[in-house]
Symmetry: C2
Subunit: 214 residues, 2 copies
């Protein structure tokens, strides 16, 4: 038997427990390296531009943090996975709520309606031979739709008081308590949770990473 080539060092540029869980489900071993980037949305950019740019910024930030940390030269190829997810409703971009009132306001807009979820994925592949910090990039954006049933203010307040909405784009989680509101989705559930797995698998394989035996 020919031994497998060494798997590159994989870094997830996110501290999101949902993204960590999704990536673990692919059977990958990876490091968690949050970018600590302020998620500043450029005015006038489309939702797809916003998530693409934020995902790219997170990936580049983590690449720079890793490379300026110095130490001995890398002996392993490096793959950095970054993603950004936003909720879009009536042309407005809804990120994470700033407080309880903001979460209640977002959910009051979304209830009884359909909205879109955009996730941008940006993957940087840095060869161990490259000393100049150059990397090849793969990036894409995936969109899904989510339809909320009608909700009373009391239901929204009860949900917000569980604290689940507080660190999530659009103020809800598809896979948690928030499931009680979701009438229907159209698209990839993992996209809505924060990391579209079919897309990410395809991109990672292009970087030479083995997933599910392939």
């Amino acid at each position: 038997m020919i031994p497998d080539a060494v798997q590159p060092r994989i870094v997830l540029a996110s501290a999101s427990p949902r993204r960590i869980e999704l990536l673990k489900n692919l059977g990958l071993i990876f490091e968690i390296f949050p970018s600590d980037l302020d998620e500043i949305v450029e005015v006038g950019h489309t939702p797809a531009q916003v998530v693409a740019e934020l995902a790219e910024s997170k990936a580049l930030r983590v690449q720079s943090l890793i490379q300026t940390r110095g130490g001995e030269p890398a002996r392993q190829d490096l793959v950095i996975i970054a993603a950004d997810t936003i909720v879009v409703f009536e042309g407005d971009i809804l990120g994470k709520p700033v407080d309880r009132t903001d979460a209640i306001a977002m959910l009051s807009r979304l209830e009884g309606h359909r909205h879109q979820v955009y996730t941008g994925v940006h993957i940087l592949s840095v060869s161990a031979q490259a000393n100049n910090g150059s990397a090849s990039a793969h990036h894409d954006v995936e969109i899904a739709s989510v339809e909320f049933r009608s909700l009373s203010l009391s239901e929204i307040e009860t949900y917000v008081d569980t604290k689940e909405p507080m660190d999530k784009a659009g103020s809800y989680a598809l896979q948690g308590i928030g499931a009680f509101m979701i009438d229907k989705i159209e698209g990839s559930p993992s996209n809505i949770i924060g990391l579209p797995l079919v897309l990410t698998t395809r991109m990672l394989r292009r970087c030479g990473i083995k997933i599910m035996g392939e």
Copy 2:
């Protein structure tokens, strides 16, 4: 303040960890009472009939087990929640796989295609005053579509060897490792996982059960 009416005793007629988790997410306190029913599918019945009948049989079986257990008369209303989920592809009903080979065969049919998931929910509401075992029933069937990406035999085998498919209708889990195969869904994710939550919430409220503060 007027105190809330006493919540009925709630029993889930299922041992499925996914259904238990989904119901817990609604914030309900309930007992788990598996029906231990053989899931026999009647030949010639439609998928919707099959899940409706199996859900009803599970609910009635648990009602009978609880009532024949005797003891002192019930002082609390009783609500029994039962559900049955199947996967339907090209007119065939796919239940749980019997072994590894069966799971591989099912996934080899589903890969690259779209299939349907049917969940029947049957809720029995038994009043504490009813001594003759009579109950009012609420029941409904919900359908969702799932689209798998193309999979190689090696990917299917690697997935089956995780054992995740073994106790699941259609041999996969939407929310687990199986997410790597799911290109797209159309419908309620909780339906595909095994208990459609918007439908179940609506039915439980008709039985006087408070959910999310309402």
